[in-house]
Structures are given as structure tokens and as C-alpha cells.
């Protein structure tokens, strides 16, 4: 070791790979390696290897993102679950039997359930037809179908009903839980009120769309009159009367998770007296919702239940409420005060989620004041 150190300090030449093997800026044949030492073989090998890498990777990549129209999973009892649906531009989804890529149903394989997020952010689907055998539909099964007008349930189905296209879950033939208020249902109900015929089967859908399109176009293209004010056409007027309001069936005890999410043209929702719970994100981003009268007997309000309901100007929480989820009234920033029927002491027995109160921005976010022992305002 001492000798090596000495050689460096004396300026002897260190080993240098470039001097060891005279470099050439071009690739040349290496005779010692035979066939594989030839420059042309090395270059060809490189190109072939590169093509293989790229080709195989691209093949698997494209295959992994190429989705079948449907994916079903067997439940183990001869029935099936709709696992995934990638409809592309299709306007109708039929959940009845296992279907082929050509959309041909296999009537020996009934579908009885729909997995959560089976239809996820589909912007094309307008109608979902639920077959007679369907027993379970997850509350998140049809997550954010922006253009969904209605869910149509087979008359023989005992587990679900869908009056006016709104999906309810039934127990013993009685609707007990509102599962889904389709985002575009306000337009659908208005169109029905104007005489457009509701589709009974998938084959009727094109006729419905043909009938509703001019009504919606007229609404979209409405121009101001000579006074500069917008003139409301017939659809607008009927929409104000019908589309902005919804009355939940009187037998319902639960508003499900995400059930009214994004129904941002609803202004008034009438809830039944027997309502016990509102699920997480139940009225999420119902921006124009102005009126909702929470009934006595309501026990639970889920997390983010009323998030971004900017139109709400009054919140009255009945004394029966025992649970409020976190961020339940997040960004309900037009509410002057939250009125609670319960006393401040009684709230200690309630399960209150974090940041459940609405907040208002000044410099930093500030909780909106809560008034306890408040009485319900009689209208």
C-alpha cells in the first residue's frame, strides 16, 4: 500500500481505462467475442432489444386500459354482480342479466347486485334500467353520473321502486330509503309534466331524448327580451314549479349516502316526518338548496351531508339529533346562525363530528354561531 501511495505522490501514471484500451469514437468489431463481437450485431441487438421493450410494454399497457363494456362477478349462487361498466357514449345501462360485449343478455345469468363505483363518473348514461332480480345496489354504485335522468325499475322487482325516476329501496314492499336522486332528474320530471312520455324500456329512450332535447335547447338558448330581461319559456316556468322541488316519499326513514349529491338545481326538498337519518354527503353540493326542514325524530346527519349548500339560509337541528358527522355543514356560508333545539348541555351527550358547524371566512375561517334552545320557526 505504501508503495502505491508513493507512486502517486511521485507523479507516476495512474491506471487510465482510456489509455489502457485505445478509444475509438466509432464502434468496431471485437474479434475476441466472435459473432457477438461484430459491430453490426451489437447495433442490431440494440435495436431489436429496444423494439421488444417498447412493443411488449405498449402491448400490455394498452391492454390494461382497454376495458370491456361490462365486467360481472359471480356471487357463488348462480347469480352475478355488476362489477364494472364502461359504456363509452351509451345512453342506457340495463342491469338485469349478464351481458356480452355485443350487449346481448344471457337470461340464465341474473344480476342481483351492483358493486360500489361500478358506474363511475359516466357522463353519457341517461337511463339505468334495473331488472327484476336486483336485490342490492350500493349507495355509491352510480357515482357521479352527471347526465342521468332517471332510474327505471322493473315492475316485478320487490326490492326497489323508482317513482318519477328516483330510486328507493323497499322493505316488504314499502319504500324506506331514498337511494338515488339522479342529477338530471329535475329536467326529467319537468319534461314528464309537459307531456313527454317516460321510457318504459331501453327501446323507448331515443324517443324520449328526441322529445326532451328541443325543450332543453330552448331553455339554454333563451335570449333576453327588449327590456333586457330573460323571458321564461314554458319549460322554464314548469321547471320552477316542478324541477326545483322534490318531495320524498312519506314512508322513507333514511336518505342514503350521496343520494342527492350534485342535484344543484333543487331549491326545496320536503322530507317526511319519519326521517331518521341522512347519509354521508346526502345533499352534497346542492348549491341552490334553500329549504329543507329537518323533522323532529331525525337522529343522524352524516359527514359532509350539506357541504357546499350555499343556498341554505337557515339550519334548524331538532332535539332528537344525536349524531352529526364531521364537516356536515361545511361551506354553508350563507347561514347567519345555526339553530339547535337542544340545550348547550345536551349537546355534550351528542356525538358531534369535527368542524361540523358551517364556517364563514373573514381573514381565517370562523365558525358560525350556534344558538341553543332554539324553537322551530313556523311558516
Amino acid at each position: 500500500m505504501e508503495n502505491e501511495t508513493k507512486r502517486i505522490s511521485e507523479g507516476k501514471l495512474l491506471y487510465d481505462p482510456l489509455f489502457d484500451k485505445k478509444p475509438d469514437v466509432k464502434i468496431q468489431d471485437d474479434p475476441t467475442k466472435g459473432f457477438f463481437g461484430k459491430a453490426i450485431v451489437k447495433k442490431a441487438g440494440f435495436v431489436v432489444l429496444l423494439l421488444c421493450f417498447v412493443g411488449i410494454s405498449m402491448f400490455f399497457s394498452f391492454n390494461s386500459i382497454a376495458k370491456d363494456l361490462y365486467a360481472f362477478a359471480e356471487n357463488g349462487d348462480g347469480t352475478y354482480m355488476l362489477d364494472e361498466y364502461h359504456g363509452g357514449n351509451r345512453k342506457v345501462l340495463e342491469v338485469d342479466f349478464v351481458r356480452s360485449e355485443e350487449d346481448v343478455p344471457d337470461t340464465t345469468k341474473p344480476v342481483t347486485s351492483v358493486r360500489r363505483f361500478a358506474v363511475c363518473c359516466d357522463e353519457s348514461v341517461n337511463f339505468i334500467f334495473v331488472g327484476k332480480d336486483v336485490e342490492v345496489i350500493d349507495s355509491k354504485a352510480f357515482y357521479t353520473c352527471k347526465n342521468l335522468y332517471a332510474v327505471i325499475v322493473d315492475a316485478e322487482n320487490k326490492n326497489f321502486v323508482a317513482p318519477d325516476g328516483v330510486l328507493y329501496k323497499c322493505v316488504d314492499g314499502v319504500a324506506t330509503e331514498l337511494v338515488l336522486y339522479p342529477t338530471n332528474n329535475s329536467n326529467y320530471r319537468t319534461a314528464l309534466a309537459m307531456g313527454v312520455k317516460a321510457p318504459a324500456t331501453a327501446e323507448d329512450v331515443p324517443a324520449f331524448i328526441e322529445a326532451i332535447t328541443p325543450l332543453l335547447e330552448a331553455e339554454k338558448n333563451a335570449a333576453p327580451n327588449e327590456d333586457g330581461k330573460m323571458t321564461k319559456n314554458e319549460f322554464d316556468l314548469r321547471f320552477d314549479e316542478i324541477g326545483t322541488k322534490y318531495e320524498i316519499l312519506s314512508t322513507v326513514t333514511a336518505v342514503g349516502e350521496l343520494s342527492f349529491a350534485y342535484a344543484d338545481r333543487l331549491q326545496q326538498v320536503t322530507v317526511p316526518d319519519g326521517l331518521v337519518s341522512i347519509g354521508n354527503l346526502g345533499f352534497f353540493k346542492c348549491h341552490q338548496l334553500q329549504e329543507i326542514d329537518l323533522p323532529d325524530g331525525l337522529v343522524a346527519i352524516g359527514s359532509d351531508a350539506f357541504t357546499e349548500c350555499h343556498g341554505l339560509t337557515d339550519i334548524f337541528i331538532p332535539a332528537s339529533v344525536a349524531f352529526i358527522g364531521h364537516h356536515a355543514f361545511n361551506k354553508c356560508d350563507n347561514v347567519p346562525v345555526v339553530r339547535m333545539a337542544a340545550s348547550e348541555e345536551a349537546t355534550e351527550d351528542m356525538e358531534l363530528g369535527q368542524l361540523w358547524k358551517p364556517q364563514r371566512r373573514k381573514v381565517l375561517m370562523k365558525d358560525i354561531e350556534v344558538v341553543y334552545n332554539a324553537a322551530r320557526e313556523v311558516q
Binding site: I27, M58, S64, I65, H86
Partner: protein, 609 residues
């Protein structure tokens, strides 16, 4: 004291417009001010640009466009085949700074402009209608998640347009503006108007309202790609690298006006979120252009007097290396290979959504001033102190130790995040802060390792020079030719799984507690496995400080020999080199026993004084 101040003031006045040549200075005091203001407002213009980009994590895309998450991966996949062509052309143009032999230039222009013409055809016409309705290609393209046949061809057209157009304009502007404005600041002049127009269009064009998601996707991609085509990065700071041929003066310029401008940069970053809410489109209509346009114009005003003074030939006069020699030289570099393997394993975590974004917006629900304080200030400063301490830390540890340490920290931090999500999920605020703390501490403690990694980047180029006589920086990109299709494929795993769990075009799913858990934890598990496996390649890393010092000694020796007329290319023998019997990775094995000279310690210097 007053006299000294008066003298200083009169000195500044005397050299306000002309530098003190008697002291070897080239930069006048006026130019110091111009640099300070230029860098400040160049950063100011960049701050709002950070909020715009064609990625799922961009606030504009996240809140307003509702684009399918998987579409971003699909778009990058579509771009892979042609990227090879653009790579080679890009090397050719960049290496020659746009000045090429006429014939080559014509060919390159021809390729770029043909691409533009083809792109326009694809963008104007819907070519998918020419495919037979039952063709397998059409069926296949329509089955792709996130896009359809029509948008596939449009997206391909956007990629052709942007690559072809940017390539052609790169040559054009370089030839016209580089001689006048130098290598760095010319882009500020050539791009500023287009950038201002596009930043307004980004906010005001209602593409996010286009009903059909496939049309919305390609239109947004076109708009954002055009926006990305024009550059307004920190060119003024780049100018200071060549502000003076006097290295001492250059150091002073980079130490004072530039560093002070850096501090003001944090102010811009912190103020912008306070001016509006990301989920309000008016933020992108008014705040973003309102900050960018004035800052860009002020930058241009001040940069006009900033000069580039180091004389550089228009064409790099370095040894021309043949394509194949370059390729095989970098492929022989073991350490590039190890880095590549590590990068491939790292891609296991690709496609996961930004954990910090989710924490800020969906767990802690920050916005406005709270967002600014936590996400812009507290978050941004997590690496500041360790960055200052990094040189001291690195003296005591090898690169291998630092690289393995980094992966262990990543594993621990990821595990902490998984545990927090699993056990604190019910307490959303506490969970959010624990996640934040975990990420903040990770950023704090791995900063020296990041520092070591960037330092190793430069050392690897030296090693490449030692091995093959050239640094081959561009040729290193050949590894990407092999890895990018694989990483894109591996990077699809997480988005496909996230899609299965409800994460598509609507980020609001993250408000659902159970969905947020799945969407975060599944990718974190992949990330955890990736970081654990990434330790393996670094176990074989044996290019540490002694090896680096040896390579540098050899490079010095090579330079001395070149002065004496001995170059490797002409060497015919006769010099007394050490034996290279036990050579590993081009380095003789015995070097670990060698002692290298260390700089004298300070105490010794004091004694000597």
C-alpha cells in the same frame, strides 16, 4: 463614518451605469438592480404558473375540468413511440444550438413541418370516421379507458403539433434571437406575448363546460399543451451564470441580488392562494393572469440591460461522438444502470395522487390564508435548514449509505402514513396533521440524501468522462428509451386500481371517508414495497468518494498528458501506467487503499500564519 458613506455613495454614482474596469468589474450598479428586479419578477411570474398544468393534480383540472384520471396515463402512452424521433432531433438541434449544416437543417425543418401539417389534418378533421365501423382498431380505441377513437387521433394530433411546432420554432428563434440576446434570455422575448394570451385563454375559454368528456379532454390537452409550449422560466437567473468573465464578480452577483430575490419568491407563493379559492373559476380568470402579466412585463423591462458576457462560440466545439459510441458508452456505465433499475422500481408508486394535496384540501380542508400558511410557507421550508447542513452531513457518509438511508426514511414515512390512515381515520383532523407531520419530517430528514443524489449526478458525468472521454449527458437519455414504456405500464397499475375504487374524473370521492382510505392506502402500499426494493440496487453501489477522487485524478492526469501531446486517441505506448489487472467497472480495485491529499485543516493554517 459619514465620510465613508459619502465616498461609497459617490462610488456608486460614478459606477451606476459603467462598471469599475480598474478593478476588473464588468457589472455596473444599475445592472445589479436590474438583475435583482428581473429575478424577483421572473419568479413572481412563475408563481402563478405553478397553478396551471395538464396533470390531475393541477387545481384547475382538479376542480373544473372533470377529466378521467386514467386519461393522463393514456396520453403519455400515446406519446411514447414518437418521443424517440423527437429525442434524436432534439439532441441534434440542442447540441448545435440551432446552427446546423444547411442540408441537415432543411431535413430537420422538413420533419418538423410535416408533423405540423399532419397534426392540423388530425385536429381539423375527425379521422376516426374513416375507420370502418366494425374495424378492430376502432373497437379497440373506443374501449380505451378515458378516451375514445376520436379523441385518440386528436390527442395524437396535439402531440405532433406541439413537438413539430416547438422543434421548428426552436431552430428559428435560436438563429434570430441568440446572437442578439444571448443563450438564456431570448426565450423571454420570443414567448412572452403568447404566454400572456394563453394564460388569459386558459381562464376564460369555457372548455371545461364542453359536454362530451372526450371532446373536453382533447381540447383541454390542446390548450394546456400550447400553454406549455411557451417558456417563461427563470431565465434571468440563468443569465447570471455568464454575467461576468470575472469569477469573483460572478459569485457576488449570484450571492446578493439573486439570493435576496429568492426570498421574495416565497412572498409571491404565499400571497397567491390568499387572493382566491381554487374551486372558483374566477381565481384562474383574474388572479393568475393578474399576477403573471404585470410580473412578466416588469421582468422584460429589467432584463433588457442584463448582459451575457462570457464569450462562447455559437457551436459547441467539443469532440463529435458517434451515435453508437455514445449509446454503448453510457450503457456500459454500471451506475447509470443501477440508477435506472432503482427508477424502474420507483415507478411502482407512479400514478398515486399527491398525498400532500389530499391532506391540504380533503383532510384538513385548507383554503385561503390557512392554505397559504401551511402549504406554501410551512411546507416549502421543510428542506431549507437541512439543505444548509447537507455539505457537513455528506462529509461523514458515502453515497451508498445516503441512498439506502433515503429509502429507509421513505419506508418509515410511508408506513407512518398507512398507520395513521388505518388507526386515526375516525379523527379526521388528527389524522390529517399526523400525515402532514410524517411528510414534513420525511422532507426534512431526506434533504441531505437528495443533496447527495444531485451531487452524484455531476459525479456520474465525471465518471462517464473518465470511462469514455466524454460526459455523454444527452446519450444518458437512452436509458429512458427502455424505461419509459415500462414505467408507463407499471405506472398504470395504480390508476387502474384507483378507478376500481371510485377515483376517476371527480375528486370529490375523496370526501367519502372509506373511499379516501382506499384511494390513499392502496398506492401507499405499492410505494412502500417500491421503496423497500429500491434499497437493493444501492447495495451494489461502489462508486463513492475514493473512487470519485481517483477518477478526478485520472482526468487531471489526462489533461496534463494532453498538454504534453499524449491523448488516448493518438497514444502509441511508451508511458509508464499502473497495471490494470484487477479492474472493476473501469476502476482498479486497489484504489480503496490509496490515500488522497486532503485540503489543509484550518488549525494548521492558523499555525502557519
Amino acid at each position: 463614518m459619514a465620510g465613508k458613506a459619502k465616498n461609497a455613495l459617490s462610488y456608486v454614482r460614478a459606477h451606476w451605469k459603467t462598471a469599475d474596469a480598474s478593478k476588473g468589474h464588468h457589472v455596473s450598479f444599475r445592472e445589479y438592480l436590474d438583475i435583482f428586479m428581473g429575478v424577483t419578477f421572473n419568479y413572481g411570474a412563475q408563481a402563478p404558473l405553478g397553478y396551471i398544468g395538464f396533470s390531475a393534480g393541477c387545481f384547475l383540472i382538479m376542480y373544473h375540468y372533470d377529466l378521467p384520471y386514467l386519461a393522463f396515463s393514456v396520453i403519455s402512452l400515446i406519446g411514447i413511440p414518437l418521443s424517440y424521433l423527437w429525442n434524436i432531433l432534439g439532441w441534434l438541434v440542442a447540441d448545435n444550438l440551432g446552427f446546423m449544416p444547411k442540408k441537415t437543417e432543411r431535413t430537420v425543418y422538413g420533419i418538423y413541418l410535416t408533423a405540423v401539417a399532419l397534426a392540423l389534418v388530425l385536429l381539423i378533421f375527425d379521422v376516426s370516421v374513416f375507420l370502418p365501423a366494425d374495424s378492430r382498431l376502432l373497437v379497440f380505441l373506443n374501449s380505451l379507458s378515458g378516451i375514445n377513437a376520436k379523441s385518440f387521433f386528436k390527442i395524437f394530433g396535439v402531440q405532433l403539433l406541439c413537438s413539430g411546432f416547438s422543434g421548428a420554432r426552436g431552430i428559428f428563434w435560436r438563429k434570430i434571437l441568440v446572437p442578439k440576446y444571448g443563450r438564456y434570455k431570448y426565450m423571454l422575448y420570443s414567448d412572452v406575448i403568447q404566454k400572456c394570451v394563453l394564460i388569459i385563454l386558459i381562464g376564460w375559454l369555457p372548455i371545461y363546460n364542453v359536454t362530451d368528456v372526450n371532446d373536453r379532454l382533447w381540447m383541454a390537452y390542446l390548450l394546456f399543451s400550447l400553454f406549455g409550449l411557451y417558456d417563461f422560466s427563470n431565465r434571468v437567473e440563468s443569465c447570471t451564470q455568464v454575467i461576468s468573465p470575472n469569477p469573483e464578480e460572478r459569485m457576488i452577483v449570484r450571492a446578493y441580488p439573486v439570493k435576496i430575490a429568492h426570498l421574495l419568491n416565497s412572498v409571491f407563493a404565499a400571497v397567491i392562494p390568499v387572493l382566491g379559492a381554487f374551486d372558483d373559476i374566477n381565481f384562474f380568470r383574474w388572479v393568475i393572469p393578474g399576477v403573471f402579466i404585470p410580473c412578466a412585463l416588469i421582468t422584460l423591462y429589467f432584463v433588457r440591460n442584463v448582459k451575457e458576457r462570457i464569450p462562447q462560440p455559437p457551436i459547441e466545439k467539443k469532440q463529435q461522438v458517434s451515435f453508437w459510441y455514445g449509446i454503448f458508452s453510457v450503457l456500459r456505465n454500471k451506475y447509470h444502470r443501477l440508477n435506472t433499475i432503482s427508477g424502474l422500481i420507483d415507478s411502482l408508486g407512479n400514478g398515486m395522487i399527491g398525498l400532500s394535496t389530499v391532506i391540504f384540501l380533503y383532510t384538513l380542508r385548507l383554503s385561503g390564508l390557512e392554505y397559504s400558511l401551511v402549504a406554501s410557507l410551512l411546507w416549502a421550508f421543510r428542506g431549507t435548514i437541512p439543505a444548509l447542513l447537507s455539505p457537513i452531513v455528506l462529509k461523514h457518509f458515502s453515497f451508498r449509505q445516503m441512498a439506502i438511508y433515503k429509502q429507509i426514511v421513505e419506508v418509515i414515512s410511508t408506513l407512518m402514513s398507512i398507520l395513521a390512515l388505518t388507526f386515526l381515520g375516525d379523527n379526521i383532523i388528527l389524522c390529517g396533521w399526523v400525515l402532514f407531520a410524517s411528510l414534513w419530517i420525511r422532507g426534512f430528514v431526506i434533504e441531505p440524501a437528495n443533496f447527495a443524489k444531485s451531487d452524484m449526478g455531476a459525479r456520474l458525468n465525471d465518471y462517464q468522462m473518465y470511462l469514455s472521454g466524454e460526459r455523454m449527458e444527452n446519450f444518458t437519455g437512452v436509458y429512458g428509451w427502455f424505461t419509459s414504456p415500462i414505467t408507463t405500464f407499471v405506472g398504470l397499475i395504480i390508476p387502474v386500481l384507483l378507478l376500481h375504487n371510485g377515483f376517476n374524473s371527480n375528486w370529490d370521492v375523496l370526501f367519502l371517508d372509506d373511499a379516501r382510505f382506499d384511494i390513499l392506502v392502496i398506492p401507499l402500499i405499492f410505494d412502500l414495497v417500491g421503496h423497500a426494493l429500491m434499497i437493493i440496487p444501492y447495495i451494489f453501489w461502489d462508486y463513492n468518494t475514493p473512487q470519485y477522487l481517483y477518477a478526478m485524478k485520472v482526468l487531471q492526469q489526462r489533461a496534463q498528458l494532453a498538454e504534453e501531446g499524449y491523448t488516448p486517441a493518438t497514444y502509441e505506448g511508451g508511458l509508464d501506467f499502473e497495471e490494470g489487472d484487477d479492474v472493476k467497472n473501469g476502476l482498479p480495485a486497489h484504489i480503496r487503499h490509496l490515500k488522497f491529499e486532503k485540503p489543509p485543516k484550518k488549525e494548521k493554517q492558523k499555525v502557519a500564519k
